[in-house]
Structure formats: structure tokens, C-alpha cells
């Protein structure tokens, strides 16, 4: 792959065909946003002639619908994120942007305090009730994701695994590590059932996605450099890095390279897999464990945008169906939350408007469970419908018991 895959170079392939506009969920929800074509590729070029700020840039949610709509391979949303970073070189970050970008830092602080998770969960409940979040610029309507009492990384040594010559490293991502470690545990069970020993690398940082979307690009670059050095190290040992979080895997596999361009990001990306992508590869090689209890559930699958972008098909659907599940796609587009976008007070309404069709679909309740690979998609569906979705790996883990 050459340098031309770096997002900034792809802007010149834009023909202004407007496909991205026709597929942008934010444009459909709000008329203040000038849209991916004008903000990304077109306005990106203006910077060469004069200093200019496109204020409506802050409406982009980085859901990547525009990238998928583009017939010419323009990394539209990444161009937007690069420009957002430019904007913040000369503008102060707002308090809530700083908070939403640094979830990992916050979680680490809390873990240092005895019962920190419990207290901060109580605190967040109070914060919501008292309107503190709203005053800070956060969406007061939402619950902030509650911390698990013990993070996955802390709990990990207590998980019993058979040692095996076949190993993978689990990239937990922040949400699974701090908020939903049971998803990580389910993943470990599934990998164990397939004869793999799961390792954890405590030196991994947050993938950087929350930083990129809030314009902390320099910090994201530090995360990228650190993570990629670790991934390359594992690559040398022949041990793949696998993650059940689709936004993390997209960042590690694709966005680092688009944002920063250097070859090392692509070299590292070759060693990174989405969880079900990896399982499907095992299946193709005839190494997949099919000794399982049949799954008889009817599942409604909300496919995250960041999974669609990866062009790996829908391995979770295929595998669960082969195990007996009936999987129906929700097929209602973006859920609207797009990482921390829907947590911003000024974007909450947009985010709920984008998700409305999905909520309507989920509320039909013609299924046993809703599944989705993305943590924030699951939060959004829960918030919009009161129905709590699970990660598809949890369904698979249960079938292996």
C-alpha cells in the first residue's frame, strides 16, 4: 500500500458526485451541517489557499457512512477529523470535549481509589439527577456508562485458562475493560473453547478513537505509536491481536494509517483482527470448534457502522446461524451515538433523531435478544428502547458451555 492511501491524498479523488451527502445520517437529521463533501474534501482543499474555519465541521459524527458511500475511495470522515484537529490547534477545547476524549485517563484515576468505581457510579447517578452533566456540556438525559467493580485487566490473572501453543492477545478497548468486562470474559471463553490461550497486554492504551473525534490528534498519535509498537512486537512473535470492539479494530486496522500515513501502521494492522473475523478465519481453515449446545434464540442484529466499514462481511451472523440461531438484521442504519458524539449535550437530540428508526424496530420485540458488536451502539439502543443488547460473542460463549 502506498502513501496515497493516507486520507489527505484521497481528497483529490473526490468528483463532487454527492453520494456522501445522500447517505449522511447527520445531514438528514439537521440542516446546520454542510455535509461531508463540502466539509471534508472540498473545504480540505481551501486550506491550501487561505486560513479558514468551517464551523459546521463539529457536526460530523465520524460514523463513516460517507466513506462507505464514496465510489472513489475518499476517506471523507478522516479528512473531517484531520480538519477538526487543525481547528483545535487554534481553539480551546471545551470542558466536556476534554472529558469525553479522556475516558481512559478518568478510569485509571478511579481505579486508584479504593471502591473508586462504586463511588464514581453513585457520583454519576447524582450528577445526572442534579443536572451537573448538563451544566458541563454533557447530555444530561443519558446515564454515563457505569464502571465495573474490577476492570478486565485487573481481573484477568484470576481467569483460569489452559496454556496453549496457540495464543492471541486480546485488545480490550476501554469500554470492555472498564465497563463491560463480561464481554471480554465471554471472548476469552470462546477463544479457549477453540484451543487458544488469551493474553492481555497491559501496555496497550485506548485505541485513540475518542481522542481523534474530539480533535486531540497529537495525543491520539502518541497512543497510536505506543499501540503499534506493541502490535508489531506481537507480530514478530507470531501472535495476533484480536478485539471484540469494532471501533477499536477499525482504528487499529485502518484509521491510524489513514490519519498518520506511515507504513508501520499498515504493517501493524495486518496483525489485528475483529473477533468474529478471526473466528471465521479459523472456520475457513477447518480449525473452528463446532462442539456446542445449539442456539435456539431469535436475535435482532444491529450491525455497527464501524463494522460495515471493515469490509469483512458479517461473520457473527454466519457463525451464530450455523450454531442454530435465527439472526435478523435490524437494517435501520446508524444508531446515532457514534462513539462519544451522542454524549455531547448539543448533539444529543441529533443522535436520538438518527437512532429513531432503529429504536422503532427494536421496540417491536419480535426476538429474544438484540445483538451488536459495538459498546456505544449497545448503550444507545438501551437508552432509546430500555432493551439491553448484548455482544454476539456472549451468545457464542453461552453455546460453548
Amino acid at each position: 500500500m502506498s502513501d496515497t492511501t493516507k486520507a489527505i491524498f484521497t481528497g483529490d479523488r473526490c468528483l463532487s458526485c454527492t453520494s456522501c451527502m445522500a447517505n449522511c445520517p447527520v445531514m438528514a437529521a439537521v440542516k446546520e451541517y454542510r455535509g461531508p463533501k463540502l466539509v471534508g474534501p472540498a473545504h480540505g482543499r481551501m486550506h491550501f489557499s487561505q486560513e479558514d474555519v468551517e464551523e459546521s465541521l463539529n457536526y460530523c459524527s465520524n460514523c463513516k457512512s460517507c466513506d462507505r458511500a464514496c465510489p472513489s475511495g475518499v476517506a471523507v470522515s478522516t479528512l473531517n477529523m484531520l480538519q477538526r484537529a487543525e481547528y483545535y490547534k487554534k481553539h480551546e477545547h471545551l470542558r466536556h470535549e476534554d472529558m469525553l476524549a479522556h475516558g481512559e485517563r478518568m478510569a485509571k484515576l478511579i481505579r486508584k481509589i479504593p471502591f473508586g468505581a462504586t463511588f464514581s457510579n453513585i457520583g454519576m447517578g447524582l450528577g445526572k439527577t442534579l443536572g451537573v452533566f448538563s451544566a458541563l456540556g454533557l447530555a444530561g438525559e443519558r446515564n454515563m456508562p457505569a464502571y465495573a467493580s474490577t476492570s478486565l485487566k485487573d481481573y484477568f490473572p484470576r481467569i483460569k485458562q489452559q496454556s496453549s501453543a496457540k495464543k492471541i492477545v486480546l485488545f480490550t478497548g476501554c469500554y470492555i475493560n472498564d465497563n463491560e468486562p463480561h464481554v471480554g470474559e465471554a471472548f476469552i471463553k470462546v477463544m479457549n473453547a477453540n484451543g487458544y490461550e488469551v493474553l492481555i497486554d497491559k501496555q496497550f492504551n485506548c485505541c485513540g478513537s475518542p481522542l481523534v473525534v474530539t480533535g486531540f490528534l497529537d495525543e491520539a498519535r502518541q497512543h497510536a505509536d505506543n499501540n503499534v509498537a506493541r502490535i508489531l512486537d506481537w507480530k514478530k512473535k507470531g501472535i495476533p491481536v484480536v478485539t471484540p470492539c469494532t471501533s477499536c479494530s477499525l482504528m487499529l486496522k485502518e484509521e491510524y494509517h489513514e490519519l498518520f500515513g506511515e507504513d508501520k501502521f499498515h504493517e501493524a494492522a495486518e496483525n489485528v483482527y475483529d473477533a468474529f473475523e478471526f473466528l471465521e478465519i479459523l472456520q475457513e481453515r477447518g480449525e473452528f470448534n463446532v462442539d456446542h449446545k445449539p442456539i435456539s434464540q431469535k436475535l435482532l442484529y444491529h450491525v455497527p457502522c464501524h463494522l460495515k466499514s471493515q469490509a469483512i462481511g458479517l461473520p457473527a451472523q454466519d457463525i451464530l446461524e450455523e450454531f442454530g440461531a435465527k439472526v435478523q438484521l435490524a437494517d435501520q442504519g446508524c444508531c446515532g451515538i457514534s462513539g462519544n458524539y451522542g454524549f455531547r449535550k448539543d448533539k444529543y437530540e441529533i443522535s436520538m433523531k438518527i437512532g429513531a428508526k432503529l429504536f422503532e424496530r427494536v421496540k417491536k420485540k419480535d426476538f429474544d435478544k438484540v445483538i451488536s458488536d459495538c459498546g456505544t451502539c449497545r448503550m444507545q439502543i438501551h437508552h432509546g428502547t430500555d432493551i439491553k443488547p448484548v455482544h454476539p460473542i456472549e451468545i457464542l460463549a453461552a453455546a460453548y458451555q
Binding site: 454527492t18 462507505r68 472513489s72 494509517h257 499498515h266 472456520q283
Partner: protein, 405 residues
């Protein structure tokens, strides 16, 4: 991963149609698309053949190498019926038949004749209207009612024209395109209905609007129309085009209901070939490749404009996935006609793949290259689809045939 009965490569009109027809025939279909396809950019009308009042008879007189001759009139007819059924199921009724052309009003007020047109654009009944109102929507980009009136007058001498200034409170925010207006009016039709009612147009009158009547089928149009006595007609517009988006959604809904697996962002780079059979296609993502296996493959990746045919070196056009030979006029002097708006076709537009009657690609000697690969839509060579205005018809008819073989 299971082997699909049919893999369709391409998500434009031909690809969607092929997937829909194949699914309707009980096949398990996978559709791979890179980019959202041409539908949001198209007018909504399906041209079967221009420069004739009766496409069906004109098709009979086409030369033997023309794609329509390989497809056959019976399939073209079945394709139009399938298309109209599909759209009417999606509450997006189309009108038209192969033996006639229907006028539609363009965004600049000329008349364009097409074979299958959305009911909302059918301008047949403009003849004899006493008064024709043309809506000028405040803040709407790229729609100039006065210019439209000036041009349309020459077609309807006996009608009175009036520009109706309408404020739908669209201002505030970005420049509003027809797509934006259509999205804003979806489920919020009353402000427009009220403005149009205030015109007091009678059943002898008509109101011409840019295509802003919603993006979901003809739902918004029905809401407005039931409150009016006059006919309302939509024009074409610049992309993004609501009539094209409505058609795209109609297809997507149909594919979803038929359990067609649609994978976005999936760039097919080559085929998996055994002898003369394609057993699968290889999708290349950011870091690795994935094979999708299928029993039958339909190639609908488009022509030059969509990258389905590429020409990095002059004289050497290529089909990048299967490396199928591409035919095009030899001799640089035959490539282009410098008179862009003349009455002659463009040589380079004839570029494309030649096939047998089953739409299997053939080489120069007429030998079949792949038995289970069928080529449809703008990938097909041998005619200038833009000049003869046959792109839409060839897309749906070749797709129908390929899917039913």
C-alpha cells in the same frame, strides 16, 4: 461461510435489479458494493431507448451486436414489468410501457421523454392545462422557476404560467438542495400543502415543483395531493436526487425483505477461477482479503464512470476484476466526437464487454470465457448508452436476463 447461489458485484441500478430478480426466483444472493452506486445521482426515470416514439419497435431494428439484441425483447418486457411491480410494492408507482414514451419536465424546463417514469413526474397531462404554476421555493439551490417557465412556455403555448413564490422556512443552516428539502418535508408535509392550497389552483390547472415530495416512495406526495384539486408534477433535479434516492430505497427494502446479503465498502479485486468457472470473488479490505464463494456471478460494476472499465493507457481498456477483454473502437480518430452536443455518438462510449446471448463474456473469437459469469448494465459494450439513452433499460433488462438464466 456459506456459498451463495448468486453473487452480484455492484450496487447501481443493474446490480440491485439483478439481486432483486434472483432473490425473487428463490436464490440466495450476496451483493457486494463499493460506494453507494449511481441511484442517488439519477433522475428517477428509466430511459429504454431515445430518439424514437416506440422503443419496442426500434429495438427490433438495432444491429446484432447491440446488448438489447442479446437480451431479447421478451426479457426487456419482463424486466419492465418486474421493475414496475417492485416499485409499486414500495409505494413508488411508475408509469410507462415499451411501446411509448412519457414526457417529464427537467429542472430547466425542457421536456425529456422516457419509458418508465415515476408517477409523480408524468407530465403527459400538462397539455390543455389552463394555468401552470411553477413553484419557486425560497432558499432552494439550483432550481430557477423563472427560467423553467421561459423554456416550458415554448411547449405549452395555450397555458398561462405563473411563478408561485413559496416559503417553506428552509433557510437557516446550509444551502438547501432538493434532497434536503425532501428530507425536511418527509412526515412534515403540511407546510407545503398549505402553501399550495393557497394558490387556489383548480382541476384545470397544474403545479410544477422541484422533486421535494419526500424521500420515502410517494407517501409525501399523496398527503399533499389529496388536499389539492390541481395536478402536481415533479421535475428532475441536480444530484443528490430525491427520485433516485426513493428508487434506491425501494430496491434496498426489497433486498432486505428478500434476505439478500448486502455488503458495503466491499471492493472486489479478482475472481477465484477454476477452469472456465468462477467459484468466488476476492474482496480486499484495508489489511487483508476475504473470499466470497458463489455458484453464479453477475458483474455489474459499471463502465468508465464507475471504474467497472478502466483505461490507464490509451488503446488498452481493462476490466479490472476478471481481466475480461474489453472492446472499443480502434483508431484514435474514432475515440471521440469533438462536437459534444452534436447528433453523433461518442466512440469511447461504445467501450465495454461483448457477450453471447446468455450474457457470458466472450473473447475476440466469440469464445465463452466464464460459463457462470454474466455481464450486465454499463459493463456491456457495443453502443453509446448516453447518446441513445438506453442506459437504464439495458441495466434492468440485462440484469433480469442474467438473474433468470
Amino acid at each position: 461461510m456459506k456459498t451463495a447461489d448468486v453473487i452480484v458485484i455492484g450496487g447501481g441500478l443493474a446490480g440491485f435489479m439483478a439481486a432483486a430478480v434472483a432473490a425473487n426466483h428463490g436464490q440466495k444472493v450476496t451483493l457486494l458494493t463499493y460506494g453507494s452506486g449511481s441511484l442517488p445521482l439519477m433522475s428517477g426515470a428509466i430511459d429504454v431507448l431515445g430518439n424514437t416514439e416506440t422503443p419496442d419497435t426500434a429495438i427490433k431494428n438495432l444491429p446484432a451486436h447491440h446488448p438489447y439484441k442479446k437480451i431479447g425483447l421478451k426479457n426487456i418486457d419482463s424486466a419492465t414489468k418486474f421493475f414496475c411491480d417492485l416499485t409499486s410494492q414500495a409505494n413508488l408507482p411508475y408509469v410507462g410501457r415499451l411501446s411509448a414514451q412519457i414526457p417529464i419536465v427537467t429542472a430547466v424546463g425542457t421536456l425529456k421523454h422516457s419509458c418508465l417514469v415515476p408517477e409523480s413526474m408524468d407530465a403527459s397531462n400538462l397539455v390543455g392545462k389552463k394555468k401552470i404554476f411553477v413553484a419557486s421555493i425560497k432558499g432552494l439551490k439550483d432550481f430557477y422557476a423563472e427560467m423553467l417557465v421561459d423554456n416550458l412556455k415554448s411547449h405549452f403555448h395555450d397555458s398561462n404560467f405563473e411563478v408561485a413564490k413559496i416559503d417553506l422556512k428552509l433557510l437557516g443552516g446550509r444551502d438547501i438542495t432538493c434532497m434536503d428539502a425532501a428530507q425536511l418535508l418527509t412526515d412534515n408535509e403540511q407546510p407545503l400543502a398549505n402553501e399550495l392550497k393557497a394558490l387556489n389552483a383548480s382541476e384545470d390547472d397544474a403545479i410544477i415543483l422541484p422533486p421535494i415530495l419526500g424521500i420515502m416512495g410517494s407517501f409525501s406526495r399523496s398527503v399533499v395531493k389529496t388536499q389539492l384539486r390541481a395536478e402536481i408534477i415533479e421535475t428532475t433535479c441536480l444530484p443528490p436526487s430525491p427520485p433516485g434516492i426513493r428508487l434506491q430505497r425501494a430496491f434496498i427494502r426489497y433486498l432486505q425483505k428478500s434476505d439478500v446479503k448486502v455488503f458495503e465498502n466491499s471492493k472486489v479485486v479478482r475472481g477465484v477461477v477454476e477452469d472456465k468457472k468462477v467459484t468466488g470473488v476476492v474482496v480486499e479490505n484495508a489489511v487483508r482479503e476475504k473470499i466470497f464463494r458463489g455458484k453464479k456471478i453477475i458483474l455489474a460494476t459499471g463502465g468508465f464512470y464507475s471504474g467497472g472499465i478502466q483505461m490507464r493507457e490509451f488503446d488498452n481498456p481493462v476490466e479490472p476484476i476478471f481481466d475480461i477483454p474489453v472492446f472499443f473502437p480502434t483508431g484514435a480518430e474514432n475515440w471521440s466526437n469533438q462536437q459534444l452536443f452534436s447528433d453523433k455518438p461518442q466512440g469511447f462510449s461504445m467501450t465495454g464487454i461483448f457477450t453471447n446471448e446468455n450474457l457470458n463474456p466472450v473473447n475476440e473469437d466469440g469464445k465463452i470465457l466464464f460459463e457462470n459469469l454474466h455481464v450486465v448494465g454499463a459493463n456491456l459494450g457495443g453502443c453509446d448508452k448516453i447518446f441513445e439513452r438506453s442506459a437504464g433499460g439495458i441495466a434492468i433488462a440485462s440484469a433480469y436476463k442474467a438473474a433468470t438464466i
